[in-house]
C-alpha cells in the first residue's frame, strides 16, 4: 500500500471515504426502499441493488455533493425500472404491499401508524415518494426534485396533494382493517404526534 504511486493512493483513500459514507447511508436506503415497495424483503433487495450500483458508479460521484440524494436517486431509478419490468407482478403484490408499507416488527407500534401506512399506500407513487422524501427523509424540495427528476414546483404540488389526501383519508377513517372500521385515525395520529414529539 505505502509504495503505490500517489494517484492510486488517493483513489484508494477516496474509495474508503466513499465506502464509509455509503455504509452510513444503508439504513436510510432501506427506509426509502421500504416506503417505495412496501414488502420488507423486496425492499432490502432493492436497497442492496442500489447500494451496489452506487458502489460501481463511485467514480462518477462528485465529491462534496450530497451523497444521500445521489444514492436515493439511484435507488428510485432502480425501483422504477424494475417496476416497469414486473408491472403485472406488482399489481398482484398490491395486497401484500398495502399491509407492509414501512412495516416494522414492532407489536407496540401505535395503531394509528398503521392507518397512516394505509393512507400512504393509497397515494399515487409520485405523490408518496415526494411526501416521504420531504416529510420523512429530511430533503429540501430542491433535493427531492433532483432525486425525482422533476421541477421543484412539481414536487411542491405533489407533496401538498399528498398531504391533503392523507389527511382526508385519516379524517374519514374510511380504511378497514381486519374487517373493522378504522375509526378516528386522525384523532389517534394527533395524540400520537403529541406523544412522539413530546421529548423533542
Amino acid at each position: 500500500m505505502s509504495g503505490t504511486p500517489s494517484t492510486e493512493t488517493r483513489s484508494a483513500s477516496a474509495d474508503n471515504d466513499f465506502k464509509r459514507e455509503l455504509v452510513a447511508l444503508i439504513p436510510h436506503l432501506r427506509a426509502f426502499a421500504r416506503s417505495l415497495c412496501g414488502d420488507p424483503t423486496a425492499a432490502d433487495d432493492l436497497a442492496q441493488d442500489a447500494m451496489m450500483k452506487a458502489w460501481d458508479a463511485r467514480a462518477s460521484f462528485q465529491i462534496g455533493t450530497n451523497m444521500k440524494a445521489w444514492t436515493f436517486m439511484i435507488l428510485r431509478n432502480q425501483f422504477y425500472s424494475e417496476k416497469r419490468r414486473s408491472w403485472r407482478q406488482s399489481q398482484l403484490d398490491q395486497d401484500v404491499a398495502e399491509r407492509t408499507l414501512l412495516a416494522v416488527d414492532d407489536p407496540e407500534a401505535p395503531i394509528a401508524l398503521d392507518e397512516l401506512r394505509l393512507a400512504l399506500r393509497s397515494l399515487p407513487d409520485e405523490q408518496r415518494e415526494a411526501l416521504v422524501l420531504v416529510g420523512a427523509g429530511g430533503f429540501a424540495y430542491e433535493e427531492a426534485a433532483e432525486i425525482c427528476g422533476c421541477a421543484v414546483g412539481t414536487v411542491k404540488s405533489r407533496v401538498s396533494r399528498a398531504r391533503r389526501a392523507v389527511q382526508a383519508a385519516l379524517v374519514s377513517g374510511g380504511y378497514e382493517r381486519d374487517g373493522a372500521a378504522a375509526g378516528d385515525a386522525m384523532g389517534s395520529i394527533l395524540s400520537d404526534a403529541e406523544r412522539l414529539s413530546g421529548a423533542r
Partner: protein, 69 residues
C-alpha cells in the same frame, strides 16, 4: 441508537380546550402527519442493518481490488 423518545412528557402544555380556527386545526393535523411519517421512517432507519449488506459490499470491494491489481 434506538429511538427512545416515546416517554410522555407531562410538562408539555396542552392547547386550551375550545374551538380552534380551521387553519390551526389543519396545521396541527399536518404537523401530526409529519411526526407520524418521520417516526415510520426512523423506525426502519433504526433497525439493525442485515449483515448481507456489508458482506456484499466487502466482497465487491475485494473483487475490485483483485481485478485492479
Amino acid at each position: 441508537m434506538i429511538d427512545r423518545k416515546l416517554q410522555p412528557r407531562s410538562g408539555k402544555p396542552r392547547p386550551a380546550e375550545g374551538p380552534r380556527s380551521e387553519g390551526e386545526e389543519a396545521r396541527l393535523r399536518q404537523q401530526a402527519i409529519g411526526v407520524g411519517l418521520r417516526h415510520m421512517f426512523d423506525q426502519v432507519v433504526n433497525e439493525p442493518v442485515p449483515d448481507e449488506f456489508l458482506d456484499i459490499l466487502r466482497n465487491a470491494d475485494l473483487a475490485g481490488k483483485e481485478a485492479g491489481e
